[in-house]
Protein backbone atom coordinates (compact mmCIF):
# COMPACT_ATOMS: atom_id res chain seq x y z
CA UNK A 1 0.00 0.00 0.00
CA UNK A 2 1.21 3.51 -0.73
CA UNK A 3 1.93 5.93 2.08
CA UNK A 4 -0.64 8.40 0.80
CA UNK A 5 -3.58 9.76 2.74
CA UNK A 6 -6.34 9.71 0.15
CA UNK A 7 -9.57 8.38 1.62
CA UNK A 8 -12.75 7.23 -0.07
CA UNK A 9 -16.08 7.13 1.76
CA UNK A 10 -18.79 4.82 0.45
CA UNK A 11 -22.21 5.45 1.90
CA UNK A 12 -25.87 4.72 1.20
CA UNK A 13 -26.91 7.84 3.13
CA UNK A 14 -25.77 11.35 2.33
CA UNK A 15 -27.71 14.62 2.18
CA UNK A 16 -29.22 15.48 -1.18
CA UNK A 17 -31.73 18.00 -2.47
CA UNK A 18 -34.67 15.79 -1.58
CA UNK A 19 -33.52 14.74 1.88
CA UNK A 20 -31.04 17.34 3.11
CA UNK A 21 -30.83 15.70 6.56
CA UNK A 22 -30.46 12.05 5.65
CA UNK A 23 -26.94 10.94 6.44
CA UNK A 24 -25.94 14.35 7.75
CA UNK A 25 -23.71 12.47 10.21
CA UNK A 26 -21.75 11.04 7.26
CA UNK A 27 -21.34 14.52 5.86
CA UNK A 28 -20.21 15.69 9.30
CA UNK A 29 -17.69 12.83 9.40
CA UNK A 30 -16.33 13.86 6.00
CA UNK A 31 -16.07 17.47 7.12
CA UNK A 32 -14.29 16.45 10.31
CA UNK A 33 -11.72 14.09 8.80
CA UNK A 34 -10.87 16.01 5.59
CA UNK A 35 -8.29 18.36 7.15
CA UNK A 36 -4.97 16.57 7.11
CA UNK A 37 -5.84 14.22 4.26
CA UNK A 38 -4.68 14.33 0.64
CA UNK A 39 -8.30 14.22 -0.45
CA UNK A 40 -11.68 12.62 0.22
CA UNK A 41 -13.92 11.08 -2.44
CA UNK A 42 -17.47 10.35 -1.35
CA UNK A 43 -19.47 7.71 -3.23
CA UNK A 44 -23.13 8.09 -2.36
CA UNK A 45 -24.82 4.89 -3.53
CA UNK A 46 -28.52 5.65 -3.27
CA UNK A 47 -31.18 2.93 -3.57
CA UNK A 48 -33.76 3.51 -6.31
CA UNK A 49 -36.68 1.09 -6.05
CA UNK A 50 -37.78 -0.08 -9.48
CA UNK A 51 -40.19 -2.61 -10.89
CA UNK A 52 -39.72 -6.30 -10.16
CA UNK A 53 -41.56 -7.43 -13.29
CA UNK A 54 -38.82 -9.48 -15.06
CA UNK A 55 -39.02 -8.17 -18.62
CA UNK A 56 -39.48 -4.55 -17.57
CA UNK A 57 -36.69 -4.93 -15.02
CA UNK A 58 -34.33 -6.26 -17.67
CA UNK A 59 -34.98 -3.21 -19.84
CA UNK A 60 -34.60 -0.83 -16.90
CA UNK A 61 -31.30 -2.44 -15.93
CA UNK A 62 -30.01 -2.29 -19.52
CA UNK A 63 -30.83 1.38 -19.82
CA UNK A 64 -29.49 2.21 -16.36
CA UNK A 65 -26.22 0.46 -17.21
CA UNK A 66 -25.91 2.71 -20.23
CA UNK A 67 -27.00 5.97 -18.58
CA UNK A 68 -25.18 5.60 -15.28
CA UNK A 69 -21.77 5.76 -16.89
CA UNK A 70 -22.81 8.87 -18.83
CA UNK A 71 -24.11 10.54 -15.67
CA UNK A 72 -21.25 9.62 -13.34
CA UNK A 73 -19.44 12.87 -12.60
CA UNK A 74 -17.77 14.57 -9.65
CA UNK A 75 -19.50 17.33 -7.75
CA UNK A 76 -18.02 19.55 -5.06
CA UNK A 77 -18.79 18.58 -1.46
CA UNK A 78 -17.95 19.81 2.04
CA UNK A 79 -14.37 20.55 3.09
CA UNK A 80 -13.02 20.18 -0.43
CA UNK A 81 -14.26 16.61 -0.78
CA UNK A 82 -15.49 15.30 -4.13
CA UNK A 83 -18.94 13.73 -4.30
CA UNK A 84 -20.15 11.08 -6.73
CA UNK A 85 -23.83 10.14 -6.76
CA UNK A 86 -24.65 6.59 -7.80
CA UNK A 87 -28.34 5.71 -8.07
CA UNK A 88 -28.59 1.96 -7.50
CA UNK A 89 -31.65 0.51 -9.22
CA UNK A 90 -32.95 -2.25 -6.96
CA UNK A 91 -36.06 -4.23 -7.75
CA UNK A 92 -38.70 -4.03 -5.02
CA UNK A 93 -37.78 -6.96 -2.84
CA UNK A 94 -37.40 -7.48 0.91
CA UNK A 95 -34.21 -9.54 0.49
CA UNK A 96 -31.42 -7.51 2.13
CA UNK A 97 -28.66 -9.59 0.53
CA UNK A 98 -30.06 -8.74 -2.89
CA UNK A 99 -29.96 -5.03 -2.04
CA UNK A 100 -26.37 -5.42 -0.93
CA UNK A 101 -25.33 -7.06 -4.19
CA UNK A 102 -27.18 -4.51 -6.28
CA UNK A 103 -25.44 -1.61 -4.52
CA UNK A 104 -22.10 -3.24 -5.26
CA UNK A 105 -23.07 -3.97 -8.85
CA UNK A 106 -24.12 -0.40 -9.65
CA UNK A 107 -21.08 1.13 -8.00
CA UNK A 108 -19.02 -1.12 -10.27
CA UNK A 109 -20.98 0.03 -13.33
CA UNK A 110 -20.49 3.68 -12.38
CA UNK A 111 -16.76 3.14 -11.91
CA UNK A 112 -16.59 1.54 -15.33
CA UNK A 113 -14.85 -1.54 -13.96
CA UNK A 114 -12.01 0.47 -12.39
CA UNK A 115 -11.32 0.11 -8.65
CA UNK A 116 -11.75 2.95 -6.18
CA UNK A 117 -8.46 4.84 -6.09
CA UNK A 118 -7.83 5.41 -2.40
CA UNK A 119 -5.30 4.51 0.27
CA UNK A 120 -8.07 3.75 2.74
CA UNK A 121 -11.81 3.27 2.31
CA UNK A 122 -14.31 3.93 5.06
CA UNK A 123 -17.79 2.66 4.31
CA UNK A 124 -21.03 3.33 6.12
CA UNK A 125 -23.58 0.56 6.69
CA UNK A 126 -21.72 -2.71 5.98
CA UNK A 127 -24.54 -4.37 4.03
CA UNK A 128 -24.88 -1.44 1.64
CA UNK A 129 -21.81 0.78 1.54
CA UNK A 130 -19.49 -1.84 3.05
CA UNK A 131 -20.01 -4.68 0.62
CA UNK A 132 -19.89 -2.28 -2.34
CA UNK A 133 -16.56 -0.91 -1.07
CA UNK A 134 -15.08 -4.38 -0.57
CA UNK A 135 -16.03 -5.41 -4.09
CA UNK A 136 -14.37 -2.39 -5.69
CA UNK A 137 -11.31 -1.60 -3.61
CA UNK A 138 -7.76 -1.92 -4.86
CA UNK A 139 -5.99 -5.10 -3.75
CA UNK A 140 -4.43 -4.46 -0.37
CA UNK A 141 -6.53 -1.41 0.44
CA UNK A 142 -7.96 -1.59 3.93
CA UNK A 143 -11.71 -1.11 4.12
CA UNK A 144 -13.14 0.07 7.45
CA UNK A 145 -16.83 0.38 8.19
CA UNK A 146 -19.28 2.03 10.53
CA UNK A 147 -22.65 0.48 11.29
CA UNK A 148 -25.52 2.85 12.09
CA UNK A 149 -28.57 0.80 11.09
CA UNK A 150 -31.41 0.83 13.56
CA UNK A 151 -32.93 -2.03 11.47
CA UNK A 152 -29.91 -4.33 11.73
CA UNK A 153 -31.78 -7.00 13.68
CA UNK A 154 -34.27 -7.31 10.81
CA UNK A 155 -31.37 -7.68 8.36
CA UNK A 156 -29.68 -10.38 10.43
CA UNK A 157 -32.93 -12.30 10.74
CA UNK A 158 -32.56 -13.21 7.05
CA UNK A 159 -30.17 -16.19 6.65
CA UNK A 160 -28.66 -14.99 3.35
CA UNK A 161 -28.14 -11.51 4.70
CA UNK A 162 -26.59 -12.87 7.89
CA UNK A 163 -24.18 -15.01 5.87
CA UNK A 164 -23.22 -12.03 3.73
CA UNK A 165 -22.71 -9.89 6.84
CA UNK A 166 -20.40 -12.61 8.17
CA UNK A 167 -18.41 -12.48 4.93
CA UNK A 168 -18.23 -8.68 5.10
CA UNK A 169 -16.93 -8.88 8.67
CA UNK A 170 -14.35 -11.41 7.56
CA UNK A 171 -13.08 -9.11 4.82
CA UNK A 172 -13.20 -5.76 6.60
CA UNK A 173 -10.21 -4.31 8.44
CA UNK A 174 -12.44 -3.10 11.26
CA UNK A 175 -16.07 -2.49 12.07
CA UNK A 176 -17.15 0.42 14.21
CA UNK A 177 -20.46 1.15 15.85
CA UNK A 178 -21.75 4.35 17.32
CA UNK A 179 -23.52 2.90 20.33
CA UNK A 180 -23.80 0.02 22.72
CA UNK A 181 -27.00 -1.58 21.30
CA UNK A 182 -25.35 -2.29 17.94
CA UNK A 183 -22.13 -3.43 19.64
CA UNK A 184 -24.08 -5.94 21.70
CA UNK A 185 -26.14 -7.19 18.74
CA UNK A 186 -23.19 -7.71 16.40
CA UNK A 187 -21.07 -9.20 19.19
CA UNK A 188 -23.79 -11.72 20.01
CA UNK A 189 -24.48 -12.79 16.43
CA UNK A 190 -20.82 -12.86 15.31
CA UNK A 191 -18.74 -13.62 18.41
CA UNK A 192 -15.92 -14.91 16.19
CA UNK A 193 -15.46 -11.36 14.82
CA UNK A 194 -15.52 -9.66 18.22
CA UNK A 195 -11.89 -8.60 17.79
CA UNK A 196 -12.78 -6.39 14.83
CA UNK A 197 -15.58 -4.59 16.61
CA UNK A 198 -15.13 -1.29 18.44
CA UNK A 199 -16.72 2.10 19.02
CA UNK A 200 -16.47 5.29 17.06
CA UNK A 201 -18.40 8.52 17.52
CA UNK A 202 -20.36 10.66 15.14
CA UNK A 203 -18.79 14.13 15.18
CA UNK A 204 -20.78 16.97 16.71
CA UNK A 205 -20.19 20.67 16.17
CA UNK A 206 -19.05 22.32 19.40
CA UNK A 207 -18.19 25.66 17.80
CA UNK A 208 -21.16 27.54 19.22
CA UNK A 209 -23.02 27.51 22.51
CA UNK A 210 -25.59 29.53 24.40
CA UNK A 211 -24.34 32.55 26.33
CA UNK A 212 -26.03 31.70 29.63
CA UNK A 213 -27.40 28.53 31.06
CA UNK A 214 -31.22 28.35 31.10
CA UNK A 215 -32.71 30.18 34.05
CA UNK A 216 -35.69 27.82 34.39
CA UNK A 217 -36.54 24.55 32.73
CA UNK A 218 -39.83 25.68 31.22
CA UNK A 219 -39.29 25.65 27.47
CA UNK A 220 -39.01 22.02 26.43
CA UNK A 221 -37.62 20.93 23.07
CA UNK A 222 -37.90 17.59 21.31
CA UNK A 223 -35.78 16.92 18.21
CA UNK A 224 -36.88 13.57 16.83
CA UNK A 225 -38.69 12.01 13.91
CA UNK A 226 -42.43 11.65 14.44
CA UNK A 227 -42.35 7.87 14.35
CA UNK A 228 -43.52 5.24 16.82
CA UNK A 229 -40.06 4.41 18.20
CA UNK A 230 -39.57 7.98 19.40
CA UNK A 231 -42.72 7.79 21.60
CA UNK A 232 -43.75 11.42 21.09
CA UNK A 233 -47.24 10.44 22.27
CA UNK A 234 -45.66 9.45 25.57
CA UNK A 235 -43.87 12.81 25.65
CA UNK A 236 -47.11 14.71 25.04
CA UNK A 237 -48.84 12.89 27.89
CA UNK A 238 -45.93 13.57 30.24
CA UNK A 239 -45.90 17.19 29.13
CA UNK A 240 -49.64 17.53 29.80
CA UNK A 241 -49.11 16.02 33.23
CA UNK A 242 -46.33 18.50 34.05
CA UNK A 243 -48.19 21.45 32.60
CA UNK A 244 -51.01 20.80 35.00
CA UNK A 245 -48.47 21.72 37.69
CA UNK A 246 -46.93 24.65 35.81
CA UNK A 247 -49.09 26.31 33.12
CA UNK A 248 -46.06 28.29 31.86
CA UNK A 249 -44.48 25.20 30.30
CA UNK A 250 -44.14 25.03 26.51
CA UNK A 251 -43.03 22.25 24.20
CA UNK A 252 -41.49 22.64 20.75
CA UNK A 253 -41.50 19.51 18.63
CA UNK A 254 -38.96 19.56 15.80
CA UNK A 255 -39.13 16.71 13.31
CA UNK A 256 -41.39 15.21 10.71
CA UNK A 257 -42.95 11.82 10.26
CA UNK A 258 -45.98 9.74 9.57
CA UNK A 259 -47.46 10.38 13.03
CA UNK A 260 -47.63 14.15 12.76
CA UNK A 261 -51.40 14.39 12.34
CA UNK A 262 -52.31 11.91 15.10
CA UNK A 263 -49.86 13.65 17.42
CA UNK A 264 -51.32 17.05 16.65
CA UNK A 265 -54.74 15.58 17.39
CA UNK A 266 -53.45 14.13 20.65
CA UNK A 267 -52.14 17.53 21.75
CA UNK A 268 -55.66 18.92 21.19
CA UNK A 269 -57.22 16.00 23.04
CA UNK A 270 -54.88 16.55 25.99
CA UNK A 271 -55.72 20.26 26.00
CA UNK A 272 -52.11 21.38 25.48
CA UNK A 273 -52.22 22.40 21.81
CA UNK A 274 -51.85 26.06 22.78
CA UNK A 275 -48.49 25.23 24.38
CA UNK A 276 -47.18 22.74 21.83
CA UNK A 277 -45.56 23.89 18.61
CA UNK A 278 -44.90 21.41 15.81
CA UNK A 279 -42.18 23.11 13.76
CA UNK A 280 -41.44 20.30 11.30
CA UNK A 281 -38.02 19.26 10.05
CA UNK A 282 -35.15 21.50 11.01
CA UNK A 283 -31.92 22.03 9.11
CA UNK A 284 -29.01 20.46 11.04
CA UNK A 285 -27.27 23.84 10.92
CA UNK A 286 -30.13 25.39 12.89
CA UNK A 287 -30.00 22.87 15.73
CA UNK A 288 -27.56 24.83 17.95
CA UNK A 289 -29.69 27.98 17.84
CA UNK A 290 -32.85 25.94 18.42
CA UNK A 291 -31.22 24.35 21.47
CA UNK A 292 -30.15 27.78 22.69
CA UNK A 293 -33.73 29.06 22.43
CA UNK A 294 -35.01 26.35 24.77
CA UNK A 295 -34.36 25.35 28.36
CA UNK A 296 -34.46 21.57 28.22
CA UNK A 297 -34.02 18.85 25.64
CA UNK A 298 -36.57 16.07 26.16
CA UNK A 299 -36.22 12.72 24.44
CA UNK A 300 -38.48 9.73 24.99
CA UNK A 301 -37.19 7.28 22.40
CA UNK A 302 -37.45 3.57 23.13
CA UNK A 303 -34.28 2.64 21.25
CA UNK A 304 -31.39 4.62 19.76
CA UNK A 305 -28.13 3.43 18.25
CA UNK A 306 -26.47 6.72 19.26
CA UNK A 307 -27.67 9.72 21.24
CA UNK A 308 -26.68 12.38 18.72
CA UNK A 309 -29.33 14.85 19.82
CA UNK A 310 -28.21 14.48 23.44
CA UNK A 311 -24.64 15.43 22.51
CA UNK A 312 -25.95 18.34 20.42
CA UNK A 313 -27.90 19.63 23.41
CA UNK A 314 -24.90 19.44 25.71
CA UNK A 315 -22.71 21.05 23.04
CA UNK A 316 -25.13 23.97 23.04
CA UNK A 317 -25.14 24.10 26.86
CA UNK A 318 -28.71 22.83 27.24
CA UNK A 319 -29.61 20.27 29.94
CA UNK A 320 -31.31 17.03 28.97
CA UNK A 321 -34.15 14.86 30.22
CA UNK A 322 -33.91 11.66 28.20
CA UNK A 323 -34.95 8.03 28.25
CA UNK A 324 -32.47 5.20 28.69
CA UNK A 325 -32.63 4.31 25.02
CA UNK A 326 -29.25 2.64 24.70
CA UNK A 327 -27.41 5.40 22.87
CA UNK A 328 -28.34 8.09 25.39
CA UNK A 329 -27.19 5.99 28.36
CA UNK A 330 -23.82 5.55 26.75
CA UNK A 331 -23.39 9.24 25.95
CA UNK A 332 -24.31 10.21 29.51
CA UNK A 333 -22.37 7.48 31.24
CA UNK A 334 -20.60 9.09 34.20
CA UNK A 335 -22.21 12.52 33.73
CA UNK A 336 -25.88 11.70 34.25
CA UNK A 337 -26.42 14.13 37.11
CA UNK A 338 -24.26 16.88 35.60
CA UNK A 339 -26.11 16.79 32.27
CA UNK A 340 -29.68 16.47 33.53
CA UNK A 341 -31.62 13.30 34.13
CA UNK A 342 -32.14 9.88 32.60
CA UNK A 343 -35.52 8.12 32.74
CA UNK A 344 -36.19 4.40 32.41
CA UNK A 345 -38.10 3.32 29.31
CA UNK A 346 -41.48 2.51 30.85
CA UNK A 347 -44.97 2.94 29.49
CA UNK A 348 -46.13 5.23 32.27
CA UNK A 349 -45.79 8.93 31.30
CA UNK A 350 -45.91 9.76 35.02
CA UNK A 351 -42.36 8.40 35.33
CA UNK A 352 -41.15 11.00 32.85
CA UNK A 353 -43.11 13.70 34.63
CA UNK A 354 -41.66 12.66 38.00
CA UNK A 355 -38.18 12.80 36.53
CA UNK A 356 -38.88 16.32 35.29
CA UNK A 357 -39.92 17.54 38.72
CA UNK A 358 -36.93 15.80 40.26
CA UNK A 359 -34.58 17.54 37.82
CA UNK A 360 -36.29 20.85 38.36
CA UNK A 361 -35.84 20.51 42.12
CA UNK A 362 -32.09 20.16 41.84
CA UNK A 363 -31.56 22.60 38.94
CA UNK A 364 -29.32 24.59 38.65
CA UNK A 365 -27.25 24.01 41.80
CA UNK A 366 -26.80 20.26 41.43
CA UNK A 367 -26.33 20.21 37.66
CA UNK A 368 -22.91 20.99 36.14
CA UNK A 369 -23.48 21.63 32.45
CA UNK A 370 -19.95 22.89 31.89
CA UNK A 371 -18.44 19.66 33.17
CA UNK A 372 -20.87 17.61 31.07
CA UNK A 373 -20.05 19.65 27.97
CA UNK A 374 -16.30 19.21 28.41
CA UNK A 375 -16.77 15.49 28.97
CA UNK A 376 -18.65 14.96 25.70
CA UNK A 377 -16.45 17.40 23.79
CA UNK A 378 -13.42 15.22 24.48
CA UNK A 379 -15.21 12.35 22.76
CA UNK A 380 -17.48 13.82 20.11
CA UNK A 381 -16.00 17.09 18.81
CA UNK A 382 -14.88 17.24 15.18
CA UNK A 383 -11.24 17.33 16.30
CA UNK A 384 -11.61 14.30 18.58
CA UNK A 385 -13.48 12.22 16.03
CA UNK A 386 -11.11 13.18 13.19
CA UNK A 387 -8.08 12.22 15.29
CA UNK A 388 -9.71 8.89 16.10
CA UNK A 389 -10.37 8.14 12.42
CA UNK A 390 -6.85 9.16 11.40
CA UNK A 391 -5.33 6.90 14.08
CA UNK A 392 -7.42 3.98 12.84
CA UNK A 393 -6.56 4.55 9.19
CA UNK A 394 -2.88 5.48 9.42
CA UNK A 395 -1.75 4.54 12.91
CA UNK A 396 1.10 6.80 13.91
CA UNK A 397 2.03 7.50 10.31
CA UNK A 398 2.35 11.31 9.89
Amino acid sequence: MSAGRRVAVVTPWYPDAQRPYRGSFVQAMVEAVAPGLDGVDVYHVDGWAVTGEPERLRRVRDLHRRLLQRAFAPAPAVAGAVLYRVPAAVERNPDHALHSRRYAEWLGVALGGRPIEADVIHAHVPMLGGYAALEHCLPGTEVYMTEHSSFLQEVLDQPDARALYDEILHRTAGLFVVGEPLHRLIGEVFPHHAGKLSYIANPIDFSSRRERRPAELRRWLSVAGLIERKRIDHLLRAFADCRAGDPALTLTIAGEGELRRPLEALSVELGVDDAVDFVGAVDPGEIPSLMADHDLLVHTSRHETFGVVVVEALAAGTPVLVSRSGGSDQVLSGIEDDAGQLVDVVDDPAAFADAYWSLRDRYPHKVDLEAAREHVRAKYSYEAVAAHHHRIWFGDRP
Binding site: V50, L67, P76, V78, R85
Partner: protein, 179 residues
Protein backbone atom coordinates in the same frame (compact mmCIF):
# COMPACT_ATOMS: atom_id res chain seq x y z
CA UNK B 1 -29.20 24.80 -22.56
CA UNK B 2 -32.73 23.44 -22.49
CA UNK B 3 -32.92 21.26 -19.39
CA UNK B 4 -35.90 18.92 -19.19
CA UNK B 5 -36.73 17.38 -15.81
CA UNK B 6 -38.93 14.29 -15.88
CA UNK B 7 -40.84 13.38 -12.72
CA UNK B 8 -43.73 11.09 -13.72
CA UNK B 9 -44.80 10.35 -10.16
CA UNK B 10 -43.51 13.46 -8.42
CA UNK B 11 -41.86 11.48 -5.65
CA UNK B 12 -39.03 13.96 -5.20
CA UNK B 13 -40.82 17.32 -5.25
CA UNK B 14 -38.37 19.04 -2.97
CA UNK B 15 -35.39 17.93 -5.05
CA UNK B 16 -37.09 19.05 -8.26
CA UNK B 17 -37.84 22.47 -6.76
CA UNK B 18 -34.24 22.89 -5.57
CA UNK B 19 -32.59 21.56 -8.69
CA UNK B 20 -34.75 23.48 -11.17
CA UNK B 21 -33.79 26.66 -9.28
CA UNK B 22 -30.11 25.71 -9.58
CA UNK B 23 -30.54 25.16 -13.30
CA UNK B 24 -32.29 28.52 -13.72
CA UNK B 25 -29.55 30.20 -11.71
CA UNK B 26 -27.03 28.71 -14.11
CA UNK B 27 -28.85 30.41 -16.98
CA UNK B 28 -30.64 27.43 -18.47
CA UNK B 29 -34.16 27.25 -19.81
CA UNK B 30 -35.90 24.78 -17.52
CA UNK B 31 -38.82 22.55 -18.43
CA UNK B 32 -40.56 20.03 -16.25
CA UNK B 33 -42.92 17.18 -17.00
CA UNK B 34 -44.43 16.08 -13.70
CA UNK B 35 -47.41 14.44 -12.15
CA UNK B 36 -49.70 16.92 -10.46
CA UNK B 37 -52.49 14.64 -9.39
CA UNK B 38 -55.58 16.35 -8.20
CA UNK B 39 -53.62 18.52 -5.78
CA UNK B 40 -50.40 20.41 -6.30
CA UNK B 41 -49.45 20.60 -2.64
CA UNK B 42 -45.78 20.36 -1.90
CA UNK B 43 -44.51 21.96 -5.09
CA UNK B 44 -42.49 25.09 -4.59
CA UNK B 45 -41.44 25.81 -8.13
CA UNK B 46 -39.86 28.95 -9.50
CA UNK B 47 -42.46 30.54 -11.79
CA UNK B 48 -39.93 30.55 -14.63
CA UNK B 49 -40.04 26.75 -14.80
CA UNK B 50 -42.15 25.73 -17.80
CA UNK B 51 -44.31 22.91 -16.51
CA UNK B 52 -46.38 20.32 -18.32
CA UNK B 53 -48.55 18.76 -15.64
CA UNK B 54 -49.34 15.16 -16.37
CA UNK B 55 -52.51 14.59 -14.34
CA UNK B 56 -52.19 10.86 -15.04
CA UNK B 57 -53.53 10.18 -11.57
CA UNK B 58 -56.91 11.41 -12.76
CA UNK B 59 -57.06 8.38 -15.08
CA UNK B 60 -58.75 5.54 -13.21
CA UNK B 61 -60.37 2.38 -14.52
CA UNK B 62 -63.95 2.59 -13.26
CA UNK B 63 -65.33 -0.15 -11.09
CA UNK B 64 -68.70 -1.61 -12.09
CA UNK B 65 -71.45 -0.84 -9.61
CA UNK B 66 -72.46 -4.47 -9.43
CA UNK B 67 -68.88 -5.53 -8.69
CA UNK B 68 -68.55 -2.96 -5.94
CA UNK B 69 -71.89 -4.00 -4.46
CA UNK B 70 -71.42 -7.75 -4.62
CA UNK B 71 -67.74 -7.99 -3.71
CA UNK B 72 -67.29 -5.18 -1.22
CA UNK B 73 -70.25 -3.22 0.05
CA UNK B 74 -72.72 -6.01 0.64
CA UNK B 75 -70.52 -8.75 2.14
CA UNK B 76 -68.34 -6.38 4.16
CA UNK B 77 -71.39 -4.43 5.30
CA UNK B 78 -73.06 -7.61 6.54
CA UNK B 79 -69.88 -8.69 8.32
CA UNK B 80 -69.51 -5.23 9.88
CA UNK B 81 -73.04 -5.42 11.20
CA UNK B 82 -72.49 -8.92 12.54
CA UNK B 83 -69.33 -7.66 14.19
CA UNK B 84 -71.32 -5.28 16.37
CA UNK B 85 -72.83 -8.21 18.22
CA UNK B 86 -71.39 -11.22 20.00
CA UNK B 87 -69.86 -12.50 16.74
CA UNK B 88 -67.31 -9.71 16.70
CA UNK B 89 -64.23 -11.97 16.54
CA UNK B 90 -65.46 -14.41 13.85
CA UNK B 91 -66.92 -11.55 11.79
CA UNK B 92 -63.63 -9.64 11.84
CA UNK B 93 -61.78 -12.80 10.86
CA UNK B 94 -64.22 -13.47 8.02
CA UNK B 95 -63.88 -9.88 6.81
CA UNK B 96 -60.09 -10.18 6.74
CA UNK B 97 -60.36 -13.44 4.84
CA UNK B 98 -62.84 -11.98 2.36
CA UNK B 99 -60.60 -9.01 1.73
CA UNK B 100 -57.58 -11.24 1.21
CA UNK B 101 -59.30 -13.69 -1.12
CA UNK B 102 -61.76 -11.49 -3.00
CA UNK B 103 -61.31 -7.75 -2.51
CA UNK B 104 -57.54 -7.38 -2.66
CA UNK B 105 -57.03 -9.42 -5.88
CA UNK B 106 -59.74 -7.34 -7.54
CA UNK B 107 -58.06 -4.16 -6.30
CA UNK B 108 -54.72 -5.30 -7.63
CA UNK B 109 -56.24 -6.18 -10.99
CA UNK B 110 -57.90 -2.77 -11.22
CA UNK B 111 -54.68 -1.07 -10.21
CA UNK B 112 -52.82 -2.90 -12.96
CA UNK B 113 -55.48 -1.96 -15.50
CA UNK B 114 -55.29 1.67 -14.37
CA UNK B 115 -51.52 1.68 -14.65
CA UNK B 116 -51.81 0.18 -18.13
CA UNK B 117 -53.82 3.24 -19.15
CA UNK B 118 -51.63 5.76 -17.39
CA UNK B 119 -48.30 4.55 -18.70
CA UNK B 120 -48.91 5.22 -22.42
CA UNK B 121 -50.53 8.53 -21.50
CA UNK B 122 -47.42 9.59 -19.58
CA UNK B 123 -45.26 8.44 -22.44
CA UNK B 124 -47.22 10.47 -24.98
CA UNK B 125 -46.93 13.59 -22.87
CA UNK B 126 -43.21 13.13 -22.38
CA UNK B 127 -42.72 12.60 -26.11
CA UNK B 128 -44.68 15.82 -26.74
CA UNK B 129 -42.37 17.62 -24.35
CA UNK B 130 -39.30 16.18 -26.04
CA UNK B 131 -40.55 17.33 -29.42
CA UNK B 132 -41.51 20.80 -28.30
CA UNK B 133 -38.54 21.57 -26.08
CA UNK B 134 -35.66 19.85 -27.91
CA UNK B 135 -33.74 19.36 -24.65
CA UNK B 136 -29.96 19.38 -24.48
CA UNK B 137 -30.06 17.86 -21.02
CA UNK B 138 -32.49 15.27 -19.63
CA UNK B 139 -32.78 14.90 -15.86
CA UNK B 140 -34.44 11.61 -14.88
CA UNK B 141 -35.04 12.71 -11.36
CA UNK B 142 -36.77 9.71 -9.77
CA UNK B 143 -36.96 5.92 -10.19
CA UNK B 144 -40.21 6.09 -12.16
CA UNK B 145 -38.51 8.40 -14.67
CA UNK B 146 -35.92 5.70 -15.25
CA UNK B 147 -38.68 3.12 -15.69
CA UNK B 148 -40.53 5.33 -18.17
CA UNK B 149 -37.29 6.21 -19.95
CA UNK B 150 -36.86 2.67 -21.31
CA UNK B 151 -39.61 3.52 -23.79
CA UNK B 152 -38.21 6.77 -25.15
CA UNK B 153 -34.61 7.46 -24.17
CA UNK B 154 -32.91 4.89 -26.45
CA UNK B 155 -34.66 6.31 -29.52
CA UNK B 156 -34.10 9.88 -28.39
CA UNK B 157 -30.39 9.31 -27.84
CA UNK B 158 -30.13 7.59 -31.20
CA UNK B 159 -31.41 10.81 -32.77
CA UNK B 160 -29.57 13.20 -30.45
CA UNK B 161 -26.55 11.35 -29.06
CA UNK B 162 -24.97 14.48 -27.57
CA UNK B 163 -27.87 15.03 -25.17
CA UNK B 164 -26.66 15.01 -21.58
CA UNK B 165 -28.55 12.57 -19.34
CA UNK B 166 -28.31 12.61 -15.54
CA UNK B 167 -30.30 11.57 -12.49
CA UNK B 168 -30.07 14.94 -10.78
CA UNK B 169 -29.03 18.46 -11.58
CA UNK B 170 -25.80 18.62 -9.59
CA UNK B 171 -23.35 21.45 -9.99
CA UNK B 172 -20.70 20.48 -12.50
CA UNK B 173 -17.07 21.49 -11.88
CA UNK B 174 -16.90 25.07 -10.69
CA UNK B 175 -20.01 24.89 -8.51
CA UNK B 176 -19.77 25.53 -4.82
CA UNK B 177 -20.62 23.30 -1.94
CA UNK B 178 -23.08 25.88 -0.58
CA UNK B 179 -25.45 24.76 -3.27
Amino acid sequence: MNVLFIAPRAKRKRAVAVETRRALADGHRVLLVAEAGTKRDGWDLDPRVEVAWLRANAIVVPERRSTALLTRRLPLGVLRRLGRGPLRGPAAKAARLWKRIVVNPLKRRRKRATEALREPYRLDRVRDALRSSAPDWLVLCEPSALELAVDFVPDFLAERPRTRTTYAYEPIGGGTDER
